[in-house]
Structures are given as C-alpha cells and as structure tokens.
Symmetry: C2
Subunit: 142 residues, 2 copies
DNA sequence: AGCTAGTTGCAAATGGTTCTCATGTGCATT
DNA sequence: AATGCACATGAGAACCATTTGCAACTAGCT
C-alpha cells in the first residue's frame, strides 16, 4: 500500500519534471496503473478511474496513456486481435505469455532468447532496437 | 515463372477442395500473392490486383484474404503501428525482422529460440500453441 | 490571487476492416 | 452446352478503437 503510494508520488514527479501537469484525472489513472496487477485496456482503466474520479472521460484516459507512454512511465501492448493493453514500465524488461482461453497475461524473461535475438539481428546486418515476443498458449491438462 | 504458375494451380486446387470457388478476382489476388517477394498489405494488394483485373474491389481483397487465411494458404501479420500485411503460407515457419526505417521485412528462423519458447511455456504450465516474434531493427552503420 | 499555456469533456472525425444487400457468376448436375 | 442456385462480388454503409477540434477549465509559476 505505502509502497505503491511512494511509487505514485515518484511517478508524479517524473511527469512534472517532464513538463506534464499532474491533474486530478491523471493522478487517478496513475494510481490505478500503479496498483494494477493485470494488463488492463483503455476502457477497463476508464471504468476503474471513474470510481476514483467520476469526471474522467475516455478521451482523457487515452490522452493520458499516450503522455505516460511518451514519458516512459507506461508501456502499451497490442496482443493479437485485441485492444491495446497497458502496464507500468517499472518492472525490468520481460515478454508475455497469453492464455488464449482466458486472455490472462503472464510475464516472463529469458536472457538466452534476448541474446539470441541480438545475434540474429547482427548476423543480418542490423542493430536490434526493440522486439516483441508473445507466446499464445493453452493451460496444460495433465 | 512456370514454378509460380504451378504453385498457383496448386493453390487453386486447395481452394476448390476446401469448397472455395476460384473466381476471376480470387485468381488475380492469388497470383499476386504467389509472386510477391514482399509482405504487402490489403491496399497494396488491391492496387496490384487491379492491374490484372480492374474490377476487383477492396472488399473482395479483404474477403479473399480472410478466406485464404482460413484455408491456411496465406498468413496475416500485424506488425507494430501498421496495417495488416500478408504472405503465402508455403514457406516453412519463420519469424520477422522489421527495418524500422524502411518497413522492409526480413524472414529468419532460429530453432534454438523455438525450443526455448516451448520450454518456457512448459515451465509455466502451458502448451505453446503459436507465437509471435518480431525484431524491430535499424540497419547497422559501420 | 492572477496569468497563461497546458488539460479536459464532449462530440465529431478517422481509418482499417467488416458487413449488408442487390446483382452476378462458378461449377455440379443434367 | 444449358441450367440452377449457393456462393461471390461491388459499392457503400457500419464498426469500433483511437484520435482530434473546440470552448471551457485549471495546474502551478510569478
């Protein structure tokens, strides 16, 4: 609780330093993102934000998400046939496993894969700037 | 030339066997896909298709692409912030490296990465159904 | 407290893709 | 080769997530 509170104050500082005003609406969205355990999409964030501040509009959710993304505070993911989903960008880099039955998202990280990717890019004469790795899976039944 | 001609006849057979009629428009789109060296999007396919058969509409391009995708004849890719792009599904499985400056797409394949992906999914209690791996790169300057 | 450029809510616009519907046409059957 | 009809097509409207224009606010420097 107090952890995420500190996190929120910290994030607000990042915004202010970036010349982005911390409005009532942005504070609400930021709080929700900081406390979210999942990867909500814009309308889900809107739903949750309205519980804190009923005046938040969906436009503002989108505008805020773009601003936060530009400040490097949140990350946007476009998984297969779905609307964009968001998460705070505080955790170290990771990729995603998506349960194709429930839509649940699990984060994982593989240094070996990361390294192989860079090698492949290099072999083809490129520098790897960023990548996207998503595993679409079904829960194992055994 | 004759290679791709055979390929086209073969693909048309797959469609007929799947209960999909081979119309003038579909033949045109199929020919373009079979001969394409790149990964065109729907409107680019439409542009090219009209050179073979001026009557092809964009709706039909989309409908045909969906039909072909369902028959397993083409594959649809949704790269970052871009319209869907297509390629024939005849080549063995591969992933994509996208030049973020030109939009060019290079295919590659890494058995090691494939294997690691399956291992990761298994460790998390899942069966890997499909995946998406895209490397966004910049040409190396040296 | 006041100023002003950045923000907001609302509604309308966007743009890729899909759908509707009246008309056309592959192709299995004769 | 002619026929019938289920499936296809073209044109444009509909969709829908996301973005934008605009007039009314407001964060936060002074």
């Amino acid at each position: 609780m107090s952890q995420s509170k500190n996190r929120i104050v910290e994030l607000e500082g990042i915004l202010r330093d970036g010349g982005v005003r911390v409005t009532r609406q942005r504070a609400a969205i930021l709080k929700i993102l900081a406390e979210a355990e999942d990867h909500p999409d814009a309308s889900e964030l809107h739903r949750r934000a309205k519980e804190i501040d009923a005046t938040v509009s969906l436009s503002t959710v989108y505008r805020t998400l773009s601003a936060l993304e530009q400040q490097g505070v949140v990350q946007r993911h476009a998984f297969e046939n779905a609307t964009a989903r968001f998460e705070t960008a505080d955790a170290p880099h990771h990729d995603h496993l998506i349960d194709i039955e429930t839509g649940a998202v699990i984060e994982f990280r593989s240094d070996k894969i990361e390294q192989l990717q860079a090698e492949i890019a290099a072999e083809l004469g490129y520098d790897l700037v960023r990548h996207r790795l998503e595993l679409y899976c079904r829960k194992r039944k055994d």
